[in-house]
Symmetry: C2
Subunit: 239 residues, 2 copies
């Protein structure tokens, strides 16, 4: 049975980490909120999100329907998919390490989001622009190098081109997306940092070149970056 | 073999979620950075955090040593401990749901932290006080009710006093800590909200009354709340 992915239809956002894993796994899925018609669109998503009849209600998108299971939280969805589709190691130690890396990526994603929304998600960017400038400055100078150097160090120790060595995991797909997103949002800072993180650049290239991913990235299923998502390009935030 | 927990010695912080689970499980553990002597203290923690010889380096505390395993990321540590010590269901669906709830709690913890540090963790609170006031106002008015009402709704559906029903999981211990922390940080707003979330109040009481937890909370192992941790009481942030 095909998976059903529920996420906001106009952005990559956190849903993209799930999409990349489903695409690399070669699994069929319906991107429900992007589907036209009566059983698609945002209303179809809200039914499950707000639905008092749902046994295990998710707090927020993305969430994934797999048979009777309704799974929320990006890293949790990937934990599930990774084991099912060979995108995580079989050993307990390997599974925990992969998930640990994914949760560290999730922390980074929050920090990226908060560069443009440091005060409240419910407010517009324009209503928190001075604060965003301060937060983004710290992100670019301090946090972004800390994270990227950390992942470079993990790659250095892995003994292969991927985070766990020679075998691809869902965490690699997510790290690819981080590089993509940072290049879009903070092109100058990312270019500077990439000179010191060659393994991260290689990982990005290796993932982008995988046949299924390559086809996906060139397709209409891949939503372009924009200023509604997590990774936004506001030139004034990168000075 | 006893566990070794690595976390900052002077705060509850994220380490507390791990401590609560170890205490409820009745497991022996060394709180390494709080241990005096040559093999204790913060230096013993930093050795593993920065250590280039560590195979799976954590990005940040807390992390847990269990035999040869070194496990980072709070929710990941709890995933591991929950399965080992009967604090998570045996079924895949149950394990995923418990972890999903824990990750939602983790999101809330980030938002609590950012009420006093909306610009940069590296800056003092006093250097981001105006921004903290704005962010905390949104948190108290909008985010905190959203999260607490969500968990109340989960409890309503669970068929028992705990999140998954009649059986305690590590997510309940974490949710207990959320209530404790919010009562300390935002006493007025929490008191108001608790009138509408009776099940959450009951869960807090049920956890606090468990014999092992009760003994722990009365012991010196429980660090008091203070203005260095995640939950801080700054009266000006709760108007």
């Amino acid at each position: 049975m095909a998976y059903e992915l529920y996420y906001w239809p106009e952005i990559q956002g956190r849903g993209e980490f799930v999409r990349l894993t489903l695409e690399e796994a070669g699994e069929k899925y319906t991107d429900v909120a992007r589907k036209p018609g009566k059983d698609g669109g945002v209303p179809a998503m809200m039914t499950l999100l707000d639905g008092t009849k749902v046994k295990h209600p998710p707090f927020a998108p993305p969430f994934l329907k797999s048979g009777k299971l309704l799974i929320g939280q990006t890293a949790n969805i990937l934990l599930y998919l990774g084991e099912r589709h060979g995108l995580a190691p079989a050993t307990e130690a390997g599974r925990l390490w992969t998930h640990q890396l994914q949760l560290t990526i999730a922390d980074l994603v929050v920090e990226v989001h908060d560069t443009h929304h440091p005060i409240a998600s419910s407010l517009y960017y324009d209503d928190q622009r001075p604060e965003a400038k301060r937060r983004a400055a710290d992100f670019v100078i301090s946090r972004m190098p800390k994270y990227l150097n950390y992942f470079e160090g993990v790659l250095e120790r892995s003994g292969g081109k991927y985070l766990l060595g020679r075998r691809l995991t869902y965490a690699d797909l997510s790290l690819f997306q981080i590089v993509e997103g940072l290049r879009y949002a903070f092109p100058k800072a990312t270019a500077r940092l990439e000179k010191k993180t060659p393994r991260l650049v290689d990982l990005h290239g290796a993932v982008a070149g995988r046949p299924r991913l390559k086809a996906y990235l060139a397709s209409e299923r891949r939503i372009p970056f924009n200023e509604m998502g997590i990774f936004r390009h506001y030139p004034e935030l990168e000075k």
